[in-house]
Amino acid sequence: MSGPLVVIGAGLHGLVAATYLARAGHSVTLLEEAAVPGGMCANRVPISNFAVPPGPHLFTALDPRMIKDLNLNLAFVARDLPLVGLRAEGQPLLLPRDVHDVKRHLASLSQRDGMRFAAFRREHFAFARAMRALWWEEGTLDEPARSTLRRMQVTSAAAWLDGAFESESLLAAFSFDVLAGGLSPAAAGSALLFTWRAAQEMCGLQGAVAIPAGGPSQLIAALVRTAESAGVTLRCDTPVRALDSDGESVRGVVLANGEVLAAAAVLSSLSRRQTLIDFLPPGTAGFATTRRLAKPQSCGEAKVLLTLSALPKVFEQPGRYVIAEKLETAAGAHAVARTGEIPADLALEIVALPTGGIPPVLLSILVRPVPVEPVGGWKDHATRLVQTVLHRLELHIPQFTGLVSGLAFVPPKHRDPFSIAAMMSPRRTRIETPLKRLYLCGEAAEPVPCLSGRAARIAAAMVAADLKEAGP
């Protein structure tokens, strides 16, 4: 067997990659900067009497094969959550998985949309299934899928959905999803982000979303147990200072305390920028790559957490609630966010979670689009953003502010610049780096940044194969 391997970052992806490699017989050291593993899934945001993770509360992309391979035996509080569009006037628009139900709910808004929804979803899911071959397998696309891909590459999400449906409430309900990836919904190719979402599979259902029982931290706890039983050496409170490189390949990592860990291969679950720019001498990753990564993504999503003394009636049905003005204003909001200002037309995704304690309800609210680095910094803007969110909720839920007993704010995460071109590149190009023996296995290796574990599983298999090919 080859020499020891090092995985940087004990978040979901790092744990998955380390476990797969350890199970393949490698000696793996998993390094975590924080005191506890988990990354974005670790409970480290205090609110009221709890601590919650800074990352998402629901999962759209957990890799089913990873869950099965690692025997995680996950339980879910809710699976296949419907999308619920909260409307300023009238009943919320419920979009469950059953297209007949969707048709019924849409009937009051638009007969035409009701008729078209089933065909739209069928075609969309079929294309999304085909795209899996490009994103996660070594396969190739058949000609119909290739033809659709060519069209989607140059189609904006806003134009595509606007051409498909006429109901403003339905389009507004999609506003949150089209702002994924920090991309403008008016940008060419943004329609593909929708496809990426549909290509995910949760609980055996394509395009579904689910909330794990006990929250994301339970998933991490299960992964830590699995990793440790596989023989992974987990070292928390161990920040990495640099990668030990000769300019062409990586030989190990240099820890902040000066210790050097030699490694046959290094896998990083951190961002591409952190891995290739912060940990390596200037220019080592390539001049163009360095330049591309120098400017992080300008737009992202912030998280507002609210604890409530009671569950508002509107959230009684489990669902993924979206509050957005109009699809057509989403592009304008994105443009405002890019300038470093907080846009007025924010799209909110709200999930209500029972806490099992006091206060009894936690509202996890993702807010898009917001500037990653607003003018003047988040210190000035966080309060304003929370006030805007509360105001928006107050419009839909009278007396809502009176229910709030605690709040917390999580600013947007710095991410690598996202490009549609990356969604078209083969999986190997996302996982490999310009340096030999250095691989990415985290969000940066996904077609669209997400917590899925899929990129980590694939990266681990790729590394194991490369090491085997290289020989002892």
Binding site: E248, P281, G283, T284, G286, F287, A288, T290, P434, K436
Partner: protein
Amino acid sequence: MSLRATPFHARAVEANRLNAWENRGGYTLAQHYGSLAEEVLAARFGAVLADLSWQWRATFSGDAIEAFVARAFTRNGAALEPGLSLEVLWLNDAGGVRGRGHLVRLARDRFLLVSPQEDRDWLFSAAALYGVHCSEQSAAGMLTLIGPTARKILSVAGIEAEPPPCGLVHLTWRGLDITVSRLGLGYELWCDEDSGLIVWDRLMAAGRPFALLPAGQAALETITCESGLLYPAGDFAPSRDGFEAEPTPQRLGLCRLMDRAHAFNGKAGFLAAGRDTVLSGLLLGVETAVPPQTLNHCGMPIGKILSCRYSPSLQGMIGFAILSGSWPSGDIEAGSVRCRIVDLPFLPIGLSPDTSQSAAPGGRDGTGGRPRLT
């Protein structure tokens, strides 16, 4: 677009009888001074003086200069002694050739790059990663004196200092601070913008007994091609993207400019681009230019034509070909055109007329025109 004038423009205007001009690097330059053939032949048998001030020149200096030049260029300039130069390429991240030029070490912490094509954005932003200071030097005048009598002309003019091959010397020449180098086909003389006309006049006066002629850019291109030098823009389109893997050094037959012993930008892409190729000369049996296309021998592809042009010295079309692996002797075809492969250079500069004749079709080394593979 307004074109700039080089420091020698006033003299070029006087000599340019047919008013034939061209734009190169944003400068107005004489395309020829009356007869392209006359100028090319003068470079073979006497000497010509040509304006190279359009070439892009940039200096790089700073504490981390060695790390920068080692990474940025395909040959390790950090190993150079001051006053010497290397011919280098620079590649993008995927191994595509962005440029070719001469890297001159001016001092321990200062380098100069001379290139036929500007790549300011790429190199300056790369230098910024290392905290290396960059500045353009393109305002200064640069003349080249090419031909068998070039050395004699310099001596008559009072320049006895002889720079080493691929090197340069700074000197004071009758009150003017100039630099003389041997980076290209002949001698290059570098001077201040204000001294340009004086330098031109002194050289022309010294060259009069040797029938020194001013040469335009067309003649310079032809001489360069005859000398077997392949340059960006004229002979190939360099990559202008950071991640495009074309053109590779292999596709241009420039593998000899790659130093595999050190890590440079784009090395992984270069190594992944396949085995080395050979840049070779091609004599074409037509009188008009042939577009880039595949070369065949008995119907089997053996390489590609890069570019071609008419050579007044050889009285025929010559071109560059990229050949992969071995190939059989005898005629090959580019479409319907019959061609013959020969060694590069077609005609080495400075050879006497007797010697140069042996490079005519058929080859000068008795191998039936086959290039050396070493």
